[in-house]
Symmetry: C2
Subunit: 140 residues, 2 copies
């Protein structure tokens, strides 16, 4: 497959595929002239990468999992990520409940509202870096 086919099949722009190749996340197997050729299993690989990204792995972490050939998934790392997700989920739930409450709370000042104060305490612990804003998916 050439890069455009892979792009279409995976939904990723060609620039991303080149970037991933450069990072060692995927391989092209040879060239047709200048042009990269990919074997079909790169699609699975990309799916796996996408999965990893969604689960919160960085590209570098994902690269580590794909060590020799074929994804060798590190089970301990997976479990650790699952636990990390668990904590994140709990924090987000607290946050969501707090937001939902704040949206209807009638207290003149939120600092007088016990629920809001509880929210603040949760937020205090919850000092993790936030995602960059989602970029709009531009469909051309």
């Amino acid at each position: 497959m050439d890069i455009t086919e892979v792009a279409k099949a995976s939904g990723l722009p060609a620039s991303t595929l080149r970037f991933y190749e450069e990072k060692g996340l995927i391989q092209s197997n040879g060239r047709n002239g200048l042009r990269r050729l990919f074997s079909a299993n790169v699609i699975e690989r990309l799916a796996l990468i996408s999965l990893g990204r969604s689960a919160g792995f960085s590209l570098d972490e994902i690269a580590e999992m794909f060590t020799p050939d074929g994804p060798d998934i590190n089970r301990a790392l997976l479990s650790a990520k699952a636990e990390e997700l668990d904590r994140t989920i709990e924090e987000l739930i607290a946050m969501r409940d707090g937001l939902r409450h704040a949206a209807v709370c009638k207290a003149p000042n939120h600092f007088e509202c016990p629920k809001f104060l509880r929210l603040l305490r949760v937020a205090g612990k919850n000092r993790f870096r936030q995602p960059n804003k989602l970029k709009e998916k531009k469909l051309k």
Copy 2:
């Protein structure tokens, strides 16, 4: 209070406080010579900012909420964020379950495992930008 006191009380470095002031998120009320003076309520304000960050608001969004004077919380925006969080939470739960499964799954190839395939489908939908890696909190 001077900037160091605010820094101590809030846990934020002075550089961040200057940055927030420049962005209009907090105000200093006058100077003592060169030095900024802050009134005590800036602490509450910072707590609110921290809360907003934890809930996934960008600094610009938070700035919008603090329009004239005193936080005027936009209830619709809060509800919208709560819903957004709801969706994120569901995705993360699916992801966590998937990870947990993948960590124990014995299938020779994950692509033969139905649970794993389901996970992939979830991940496919779940094409949101991930957080930058958490930076280690360096305690000096």
